[in-house]
């Protein structure tokens, strides 16, 4: 079967996953494994004054108890990924008696069995000197820390806002959220001859390899990270988590492999999360809907231990044409683990407020919300005047409106009902996501048996990298899909970038493309005895100048060694060779979304229909429509699933998800999947996804823009806008709960 670009090839890993054959990190057996369990802090801030492990050590089978007393060893200079390191946080538990957040690891138990380790964990008695703590940014006493470098000013937005014919000034809140992948965090660490093997679900095998090498003072090639499959990551498995370091340390001291699977409750504290945000959005417009002022002040929850922000304002500032733009970014430090990347970290919370405000403006103007967005479509990036590498937002809205049946919407609030009396609400919102790129290597091998194998240290989060990267090679080499093999998720492979920022297809795809072209050149040269002139590839045949074809496999078979293999290092133009080298060695090296000449973003238009019970005020998402322009779609099937998955999460964001904070004790309260609500199938009605093709060779040679995260962006606002249309109640926070509508 043709497996080239644009074909809806079925995921290569689908059968293995459906049958249970796929090995996830915790499934790799190691002889002689010992098992770990965690003890986490009951208090959110203070010091450990005493830790009694005697009863735990007496449990039969317990091999080691690791506390800040017994660790008693430096752990290198590794630090938080956003400070140039690879870690989830710059704070390392067990290196001191300090407690900085509730649920922090304070002790690690290692035993011959999982049961003994867990039993021992329950017997560790910890005493704390507790200090006042706050895990919510709207607790009293917090001060905002402005981030002046993130401020954007175009024109005089304050004056233009004050003088606007029509204006909106509103503040919107989004809560802390947790990724909650079904696959728990896990790490099995095994040392052999001074070399470390780690099985852990990873969105960044190269980064973890570099970090563990630094921490244990060994060469990078002596660290091997294996992560062929990831059971949901969403950003939580990108950076190195502290427990992996502790497990590796325990394994080294014990001289045995050690395995830890983090229990669900600890998933809320030992890794990162999406921090809470507060957005004040001010929009000013002329009576005809032309925007005159766009202002967005965003405050994000940060941590005392790491100052971190995910500014949506850099994106919202570029959304619509306006002569006057002003954005400000600030943070509030709280007593939590370091917040981190969670699918569309900046955009998903930031666009809730921003796109809700656009809807509020449309209502004040008496204008259709689709037309208001179209009216303010910018020719160029409104902040720096850069050309768009491609921007098809208006076609997305036109097509989306058509698919959704937007013209049937009566704009009057509460005017539409279903045959059984439910209130119908219809809303829309804009989605966007930056198309950044990063350096990547890839190796492509063509063999005499006809197979084409792609090797790349990129990652498949379950969204299709195994499939699409193979298609990129197949597209160049004309190899049928059944003969394509792809290897990912291993630090011994040619270096791939972090699976973050929706960059994998574009970046690693470009590297695969480059390597495949080199293989093709050698193949044609081999066919022409050193002279490729006049030779071409078609239908699995190498066609000569005389029009006669020879099977690819036959030509490869005649080459010395019977394989043609090439490795390529690709980098975006905006990065230097040094930056590329640093990136390929496990650094974070991103180019874009804005470069000197271009601004590169994916865009989309999202529509939602909600049904609201007129008496009980419960909301159900009956339909969602999303139309996206993400450059060239390599695989319509996996792209659709990815975008639809994002939209489903967006609905969950709008109506369900919140990591509730137990304020007096500064803890997350609903730390299990019964309490932390994510959408079930029953919550989601029809989901319609389409993409609009764009030719964009500015972003990369295969023309692929960001797909992975845009689906979630804007869906929350589209639903909030639909809820307003149904009920007349404007809810300026998520999740929108039944009590908000009673």
């Amino acid at each position: 079967m043709d497996g080239s670009i644009g074909i809806p090839v079925v995921r290569r890993d689908a059968a293995a996953k459906a049958s249970g054959a796929a090995q996830y990190a915790a499934d790799f057996p190691h002889a002689g494994t010992a098992y770990a369990a965690l003890v986490t802090s009951k208090v959110a801030r203070g010091r450990i004054t005493a830790i009694d492990t005697m009863a735990a050590e007496a449990v039969p089978g317990v091999q080691m108890v690791l506390t800040h007393h017994s660790l008693n060893e430096g752990l290198g200079k590794e630090t938080f990924a956003m400070k140039g390191g690879h870690m989830q946080s710059s704070f390392m538990p067990l290196t001191s008696d300090e407690v900085h957040y509730a649920g922090q690891i304070v002790c690690l138990l290692i035993a011959d069995t999982q049961e003994a380790a867990e039993q021992a964990a329950g017997l560790v008695a910890v005493e704390y000197a507790t200090e006042h703590a706050s895990a919510a940014m709207d607790d009293p006493g917090h001060e905002e820390e402005p981030m002046e470098k993130k401020a954007i000013d175009v024109g005089d937005a304050l004056a233009a806002f004050a003088a606007a014919d029509v204006s909106v000034d509103a503040t919107y809140l989004t809560p802390a959220q947790h990724h909650n992948p079904i696959e728990l965090y896990a790490a099995t660490c095994a040392w052999r001859d001074g070399k470390l093997l780690v099985n852990t679900p990873s969105q960044w095998v190269k980064g973890k390899q570099a970090a563990l090498a630094e921490i244990f003072g060994i060469p990078m090639e002596d660290v091997h990270i294996e992560s062929p499959y990831i059971g949901g990551g969403f950003g939580s498995k990108a950076t190195l988590l502290a427990h992996t370091v502790l497990v590796a340390m325990a394994a080294r001291r014990l001289g045995r492999p050690v395995k830890l699977v983090v229990p669900r409750e600890a998933m809320f504290t030992v890794g990162s999360f999406r921090p809470a945000t507060r957005s004040r959005v001010r929009l000013g417009a002329k009576k005809d809907g032309t925007l005159t002022a766009v202002l967005h002040d965003e405050v994000g929850q940060s941590a005392v231990i790491d100052h971190v922000a995910f500014p949506a304002t850099e994106v919202t500032a570029r959304m619509y044409a306006s002569p006057n733009i002003r954005t400000r970014q600030a943070t509030i430090a709280t007593d939590v683990n370091t917040p981190g990347f969670q699918r569309a970290p900046a955009e998903a919370p930031g666009f809730f407020g921003f796109e809700s405000a656009v809807d509020e403006l449309a209502i004040k103007l008496g204008m259709d919300p689709v037309e208001l967005r179209v009216r303010n479509e910018p020719e160029r990036d409104p902040v720096k005047g850069l050309a768009w590498s491609s921007r098809s937002l208006v076609p997305c809205f036109r097509r989306g409106a058509e698919l959704f049946g937007w013209s049937k919407r009566n704009p009057e609030v509460g005017s539409m009902t279903t045959p059984d009396g439910l209130l119908i609400g219809m809303g829309c919102a804009t989605a966007t996501y930056p198309s950044a790129m990063a350096p990547s290597s890839a190796r492509v091998r063509l063999s005499a048996d006809g197979t084409c194998v792609v090797y790349c240290g990129a990652h498949d989060l379950g969204t299709g990298a195994y499939t699409v990267l193979g298609q990129v090679a197949a597209d160049v080499l004309g190899v049928p899909d059944e003969l394509v093999r792809v290897h990912l998720g291993d630090s011994t492979l040619p270096s791939g970038p972090v699976a973050g920022g929706s960059i994998t297809t574009g970046s690693s795809g470009a590297a695969v493309h480059m390597a495949a072209l080199a293989v093709r050149d050698r193949l044609l040269a081999a066919a022409g005895d050193g002279n490729p002139a006049g030779w071409s590839l078609a239908g699995g045949q190498v066609i000569g100048p005389d029009g006669h074809g020879r099977p690819v496999a036959e030509v490869v078979g005649a080459v010395t060694g019977g394989v043609i293999e090439e490795t390529a290092d690709w980098k975006p133009d905006a990065l230097s060779d040094d930056q590329m080298r640093a990136g390929l060695a496990g650094g974070m090296a991103f180019a874009g979304p804005t470069t000197e000449k271009h601004a590169s973003y994916s865009f989309g238009a999202q529509f939602a229909e909600v049904h609201v019970d007129p008496l009980l005020r419960t909301v159900r998402v009956a339909r969602m429509v999303g139309v996206f322009a993400c450059g060239r779609i390599i695989n319509p099937r996996t792209a659709r699933s990815n975008l639809a998955g994002g939209m489903v999460w967006g609905a969950s964001f709008a109506l369900l998800e919140e990591s509730q904070v137990d304020r007096p004790r500064a803890r997350f309260a609903n730390t299990d999947l019964a309490g932390y609500h994510i959408s079930t199938n029953a919550d989601i009605g029809e989901v319609v996804v389409e993409t609009i093709h764009e030719d964009d060779l500015v972003v990369n040679p295969i023309g692929a823009k960001a797909v992975g995260e845009i689906g979630i962006v804007g869906m929350n606002a589209a639903i909030a806008n639909a809820v307003y249309h149904a009920t007349g109640t404007r809810v300026r926070k998520t999740p929108i709960l039944v009590e908000d509508l009673l």
């Binding site: 049961e115 867990e118 039993q119 009980l616 005020r617 369900l656 309260a669 199938n681 039944v738």
Partner: protein, 327 residues
Amino acid sequence: MQPFTYLRPASLDEALHAASEPGTSVLAGGTTMVDLMRGGLAWPTRLLDISHLPGLADVQTDGPVLRFGALARMADVAENETLQRAYPALVESLQLAASQQLRNAATLGGNILQRTRCPYFRNGVSDCNKRVPGSGCSAVDGEDREMALFGTSESCLANYPGDWGTALAAFDTAVELRSAAGLRTVKFSEFHLPYGEDPAAETVLRPGEIVTAITVRATPAGRASTYLKVRDRQSYAYALVSAAVALEMEGDMVTSARVSLGGVASKPWRSPEAEAALTGRRLSEAVSLEAGEAAFKGAKPRRQNAFKIELGRRVVARAALTAAKRI
């Protein structure tokens, strides 16, 4: 978890004998017990597996008394056709609970012993009088959106989470308890305890006793009944507010009403106030809302859960109107 001995008795007699040993807990469907043990909330030293014992899964829906063997599975009973026709409230309470997978495994007897989902109880860390008597109740100054409005105290604000139990409370229900000493029958209304000074005590079940059956006195009110559950999501969530309503009517006149509430009380909660507001009245939307209002008159709201009073008023009203359509 701590090490425990797994016991698999050959007969009910053997099981009752084994149950009398201190430290013994009963394992049936396992959906609650295993969860509690994994979460460090139950520490039996002996786990007595009764799931295979014969005769305890029988369901009788004919005659003057309905009888549900304690080991009958939720999913199986939800498919009982007689029950679907004659007691829709009971069936709906089973269908709307948990997930299909859990309903396939969970038993009716175990279900009524389900423990609260209060996060402070479940997380194994926070102060909680139910888990560590005397340690205090974290919900008093903490997250209380899901906490109860009835039957609480400053020692415990937790909610009874079950749907089946809530629906049973609307009927004349009893629980059969067996021990080595013999059989006793307890009225369902007296089976669960409201959370007073000792929130760790949740039922009148004595050490060594096993729930063997649940009985419901047959009533024509079963036919005009419904169980309405409002929750944050459409599946796999506990009730914010639920209500079971069963009516007997002459024309549009309510001659007898049974109303119970879920998601709002420390135990399955019968509402004689709502029943009185319906009985002897011609049912209308206004009357149903009056009944809803009456149901929540005695509610004690906290900071975040006061909305349940207004929501509950509407839930009772909608359930009453739905039940009336089934006459």
